[in-house]
Each structure stands twice: as structure tokens, then as C-alpha cells.
């Protein structure tokens, strides 16, 4: 088992390496890199949207005027020391700006993931057990529709109907706390916080929830076809035990691996949702930085998100090993 973990961690290294390479490659796309400058000079074109100032700063930060291996070395060093330079906007160290925003995005995402699993699994089980019945077909159809609604549209619809204006005003649509709420005692503050993140969390959750419940249904239906389910019934076990104890335990296993796939989507999806609802998280920071071409922040976020996702995948793999005896057997060999 320990060997397996060790081997898995070793496999991380080339992937981490790859992340540094790809992010490096993206930086090279920055306007003002030597090749492009030459092309532009040759053709007499000027880069309009990018001010000279930004070009100069980028060049300095990433050493774009130096030979390529030096450039890569500079970038690697930045990653390893977590020193991504200073933001173009306010000259604060990038790493500080990110650190203060991570907790919020993480909170939203974790709440979302918990909700997804808590709701999707029972729905999936119900769908599998009632497969083919009219009520099940309706709920499956409804979930499919839900899944296909773009998140930004859903957000706009929710704001339109529930966020003030011509209809109801049930939820706030701005920020994570009402003005002045920072000074509330713990419980009222927490309630206020939850009230604010209700709509954004919903937007983050509904799509993956619909997807996961369909997946769970499929997984459980497949497991129910297996031989050992018939054996369980032949032993005289009641139906609910056959399904919930014997079948579900097996059907849950692939669901965990899905977790690894949901993570990058969540971090990305946060960009849109946080922007719409003005949530001060990494997504909003990322978007603002993209708007203002604040390259150091952009690169830092891209890299850190990738690394976080990588560890998320690792954790999902490890849970998988713990949960499926067949795999750990392979690992033990």
C-alpha cells in the first residue's frame, strides 16, 4: 500500500513538470516577446491594446529578453519559491493577493461538492430503482434540462426573479456579507454569509448535481446486473438491503473518481459565477486580472489551480484505493 502511494507520488513529478512547461509556453505568447517585437518592427505594426509599460514590465519579470533556458529557469524559480512577482495593478505581492482569496473560493466549492454528493447519490439510487417508471422518466428529463442550462444564464434568471427588481427580492446578489455585517457576532454573521452565497452556490452546484445523479443511476443499474446481486437475493436478503448494502457499495466506487473531474471544472466555473455575484474569490481575481492584463497574477492563478487540481486528483485516487479492495490488492502485489 505504501509502495502504491509512493509510486503514485512519483508519477506526479512528470505531470508537475509538464504544468511548468505549458504555463511557460503560455507566457511566451505575451506580446512584446523578442520574436514578436521583431515581426512587428519589420512590418511596421504597433501593438495597440498593450501599453509600452506593460510590455517592459513583463519583459523584466519573465526575462523575455534573455535566452530561452534562462527564461525557463526564472519561471521555475518563481513557481518553486511561490514568488510570482508583484501585481501590475497595485504592486502588492501576487502571492498575498491570492492567499487572501483562496479561503472564500475554497469554501464555496467545498460546500458545493458536499451538496452535490448529498443530493445526487439518493437521486441516482432512486432513478435506478424506479427505472422506466413514469415518475422516473420525468425526473430524469427534468435533470437533463437542468444540466443543459448554461450557468451564466441560470445566474441571470435567478437574479432576475429572486434578486430584486420587478419580481421577488429574496436573495442578495452582491458580495458575501451585507455592509456592516463583518461586525456581527458569529451566528448572525454566518447566517448572513450563507444567505449571500446561496445563489452562487446553487449556480455552482446544479449542473454537476444533475450530471452526477445520472452517472450514479447508470453505475447502479450496471451493478444490479452483476451476479453477486442475484446471490444476495438468493440468500434471502430483503430488497432494500440488496440494493443499499450490496449494490450501492460497489456503485459508489466510480463516483469517487468523478470527483477528480469535477474539481478543475469548479475552479474554472467559479470565474463566471464569482464575477456575476461579485464574490471576492480567486475566480473574480482571475477575471479582473485578465481584463487588466495583470500577467503575474494570471500566471500565478493558472499554475496554482493546476497544481491544486493535481493534488485533488491524487486524493481521489487514494480514496479509490482505500475503498475498492480489488485495487489495493493490485497495489499490494
Amino acid at each position: 500500500m505504501r509502495d502504491y502511494i509512493f509510486k503514485r507520488l512519483l508519477l506526479l513529478i512528470p505531470t508537475l513538470f509538464g504544468i511548468t512547461l505549458i504555463t511557460f509556453f503560455i507566457i511566451q505568447l505575451a506580446p512584446g516577446n523578442p520574436v514578436e517585437r521583431k515581426l512587428q518592427l519589420d512590418q511596421g505594426i504597433q501593438a495597440e491594446a498593450i501599453t509600452q509599460q506593460i510590455v517592459e514590465e513583463t519583459k523584466k519579470l519573465y526575462g523575455l529578453d534573455k535566452p530561452i533556458y534562462v527564461r525557463y529557469g526564472i519561471w521555475l524559480k518563481q513557481i518553486v519559491t511561490l514568488d510570482f512577482g508583484r501585481s501590475y495593478k497595485d504592486h502588492r505581492p501576487v502571492i498575498n493577493k491570492i492567499a487572501e482569496r483562496i479561503p472564500i473560493t475554497l469554501t464555496l466549492n467545498i460546500i458545493s461538492i458536499i451538496l452535490i454528493y448529498l443530493i445526487a447519490i439518493p437521486i441516482g439510487v432512486y432513478s435506478a430503482v424506479s427505472h422506466g417508471r413514469f415518475s422516473e422518466r420525468i425526473s430524469t428529463f427534468f435533470l437533463f434540462i437542468l444540466y443543459s442550462i448554461p450557468s451564466f444564464w441560470m445566474a441571470m434568471i435567478l437574479i432576475f426573479f429572486l434578486g430584486g427588481g420587478d419580481y421577488w427580492d429574496l436573495f442578495p446578489v452582491y458580495g458575501i456579507l451585507s455592509p456592516g455585517a463583518e461586525n456581527y457576532p458569529f451566528f448572525p454573521k454566518a447566517i448572513n454569509f450563507l444567505w449571500h452565497i446561496a445563489l452562487p452556490v446553487f449556480c455552482l452546484t446544479y449542473g454537476s448535481l444533475a450530471y452526477l445523479s445520472r452517472f450514479q443511476k447508470g453505475s447502479l443499474l450496471e451493478v444490479l446486473r452483476e451476479d453477486f446481486v442475484r446471490t444476495a437475493t438468493a440468500k434471502g436478503l430483503p430488497r432494500h438491503k440488496v440494493i443499499l448494502k450490496h449494490a450501492l457499495r460497489n456503485a459508489l466506487i466510480p463516483i469517487i473518481t468523478i470527483l477528480a473531474g469535477i474539481l478543475p471544472a469548479m475552479i474554472g466555473g467559479s470565474v463566471i459565477i464569482e464575477s456575476i455575484f461579485s464574490i471576492p474569490g480567486i475566480g473574480q481575481l482571475g477575471f479582473e486580472s485578465v481584463l487588466s492584463r495583470d500577467y503575474p497574477v494570471i500566471m500565478a492563478i493558472a499554475t496554482i489551480s493546476a497544481v491544486l487540481t493535481l493534488f485533488g486528483i491524487l486524493i481521489a485516487d487514494l480514496i479509490y484505493v482505500l475503498v475498492d479492495p480489488r485495487i489495493s490488492f493490485e497495489a499490494k502485489k
Binding site: A234, K235, N250, I253, P325
Partner: protein, 328 residues
């Protein structure tokens, strides 16, 4: 001899492409107490479906038990409620299946699964259950049971998994064990051991065994009586020795002839020409007509019923008296 289980005139059909096709066409099987009753036939003849129907394990769409009775302990199982059936399954009638490793749940230990059979039906303390699990594992011939009970199914060989299945099936001392092709998925060398085990346990525990198989060799080894099935019908029935010595149905003869080793030195294996008709395409009259070397006109119009041909020996063939071991 008392019958512990009586299947009477059972008819089962399945839905296929919008139609209902009959896969078991009125068969009757009697299982006397403590005997091994073999049911032999090719794939698709309905023997497995029959076995599953005793346990009411047929999925009700698309399958359906159309008529008949299954008498156990004075009552018709087909009229039992779900709850009553649950108290029978794994308790008074147990079943083991063809693929032992995939018939066990991969995420629970072997000991856990055997224990579950006990806790479902018996009122024992945890300690008592653990002891019984060890007893059962020893009974079925698994060495080092203390260690083995913590194994997962995929950590065991096919033969050992089948022994575990048997242990699980026998946990509550059932009166009938239904064994559906218990050795088909196992190596030939292992098969003998399993058969021997089943036979020994049958004697020890006084239970009857309904043994489903396509392998006449197995029948010859352990079965007391044989029912030969073809295309959803019983075509011959009798004591094993009688069937082998004096078959009275052309299909039985064909089966016997196709077993390597039961005939004198032949270079070629004798297969029965033709294929089993599919359930949606059964001919009128005798279902064996297209493959039968003794077929006459009557066979194509009137279906032969089981008639006496000897002591407790019946066969369903118009020309049963003329059937001899046909030499090819």
C-alpha cells in the same frame, strides 16, 4: 420415498420483441429427500430457468411463471408472498451458481458474506456466528479458515470460491440445495473435488440436491436420478444407471454418444446434427423432430408425452421402444 420438493407442470414464458415465448413448457420434477437429482440438457433448454423459478428469482418482467406448482413443505411456493420467500431463500432452500468469483460481492470479505447468511436467518450471538463461519469453512475443506475468512473473493481461486459459496449456501442447514452448473467454470481437476464435497455434504446433512448441468459425466458420478431436458420439455427421466444403460429417447442417445470416453474408441466426436430450435420457433409435434434419426410423420404433428418404459423410467418418444444405443 418422500419428496421434499415437487415441481408440477411448470410453464414459464419470456417477453421477447413484444411477443411472449414459452421457454419451459410444462415440466414436472420430483426431488426426494436426501437424493441428488440431475437435470441435464444443452444450453437454452430451460434447465437454469427452472432452477431459478424454485427460488422465485426469475425477473418478472420480462419473465413470467404462467402456470404450475412448486410444492415445498406442503405449500405452493408460487403463492408465497415476497416476505415468506425471503425466509425460505438461503435458509431452507439454497442455491449456488456457475461463476463463483463473480457471484460473491467483491467489496466484502468472504467471512463477512457467510456471516450475513447466518445473521439473516438465525438468532446467534456475534461470537456464535464467528464460530459457525469457521466451522463451515472447515466443513467445505478450506484450509486455514481463520486467515481465509478475511480474504476477499478475488484473492481466492475459482475452486476455493465455489467452496465458499457452498459454505454460504449451507450455513442454515437447508433441506434443498440447488446447484446450477457448479463446476462448469472450474478446471477439470478441481471439478472432482467440488462434486465430491457436494456429495459428502449431502450425506452428512441429509439434504437433497437439484443438480443442473450439461455434462453427462457429472451426472454419471453423483446423480441418483436424471431428468433429460430438451427445448423446454422433459424428454426422459429415470435412475441414472438405467438412463445410461438403456436410454429410450433419441436425444438421450445422442447426448450419450457425444460424450468422449463413454463410447469405444472413436476418432471423431459425434455431435448431434442441427441446432436447438429457438423458443419463438418451436415446431408442432415433437420438438426434436429436425434432429432425430428416428423421426416419422407422427412426430411432426403429435407431441409425445412421457410414458413408462421401465421401473421409474419414462420417455417421451413415439418410437421409444425401438430406441437403442445407436451406433454411428
Amino acid at each position: 420415498m418422500d419428496n421434499v420438493l415437487e415441481i408440477k407442470d411448470l410453464r414459464i414464458s419470456f417477453a421477447s420483441d413484444g411477443k411472449r415465448v414459452e421457454v419451459v413448457g410444462g415440466i414436472s420434477i420430483n426431488v426426494p429427500k436426501g437424493k441428488i437429482i440431475g437435470v441435464v440438457g444443452e444450453s437454452g433448454c430451460g434447465k437454469t430457468v427452472t432452477a431459478l423459478s424454485v427460488m422465485r428469482l426469475i425477473p418478472e418482467p420480462p419473465g413470467k411463471i404462467d402456470s404450475g406448482e412448486i410444492i415445498f413443505d406442503g405449500a405452493d411456493l408460487l403463492h408465497y408472498s415476497d416476505r415468506d420467500m425471503r425466509s425460505i431463500r438461503g435458509n431452507r432452500i439454497s442455491m449456488i451458481f456457475q461463476e463463483p468469483i463473480s457471484s460473491l460481492n467483491p467489496v466484502f470479505t468472504v467471512g463477512n458474506q457467510i456471516e450475513e447468511a447466518l445473521s439473516t436467518h438465525l438468532n446467534l450471538s456475534k461470537q456464535e456466528r464467528k464460530e459457525r463461519v469457521l466451522e463451515l469453512l472447515t466443513l467445505v475443506g478450506i484450509p486455514a479458515p481463520q486467515r481465509r475468512m478475511h480474504n476477499y473473493p478475488h484473492e481466492m481461486s475459482g475452486g476455493m470460491s465455489q467452496r465458499v459459496m457452498i459454505a454460504m449456501a449451507l450455513a442454515c442447514n437447508p433441506e434443498v440445495l440447488i446447484a446450477d452448473e457448479p463446476t462448469t467454470a472450474l478446471d477439470v481437476t478441481i471439478q472432482a473435488g467440488i462434486l465430491e464435497l457436494i456429495n459428502d455434504l449431502r450425506v452428512k446433512m441429509g439434504m437433497a440436491v437439484l443438480l443442473i448441468t450439461h455434462d453427462l459425466g457429472i451426472i454419471a458420478e453423483v446423480a441418483d436420478e436424471v431428468y433429460v431436458m430438451y427445448a423446454g420439455k422433459v424428454v426422459e427421466h429415470g435412475y441414472t444407471a438405467d438412463i445410461f444403460r438403456e436410454p429410450h429417447h433419441p436425444y438421450t442417445v445422442g447426448l450419450l454418444n457425444s460424450v468422449p470416453g463413454l463410447q469405444e474408441n472413436k476418432e471423431m466426436l459425434n455431435a448431434i446434427p442441427g441446432v436447438v430450435p429457438s423458443p419463438d420457433n418451436f415446431p408442432d409435434g415433437c420438438r426434436f423432430q429436425d434432429r432425430c434419426p428416428l423421426v416419422i410423420d407422427k412426430c411432426r404433428t403429435d407431441e409425445p408425452l412421457l410414458e413408462q418404459v421401465g421401473n421409474a423410467h419414462t420417455a417421451a418418444c413415439w418410437r421409444r421402444a425401438e430406441v437403442k444405443k445407436i451406433e454411428n
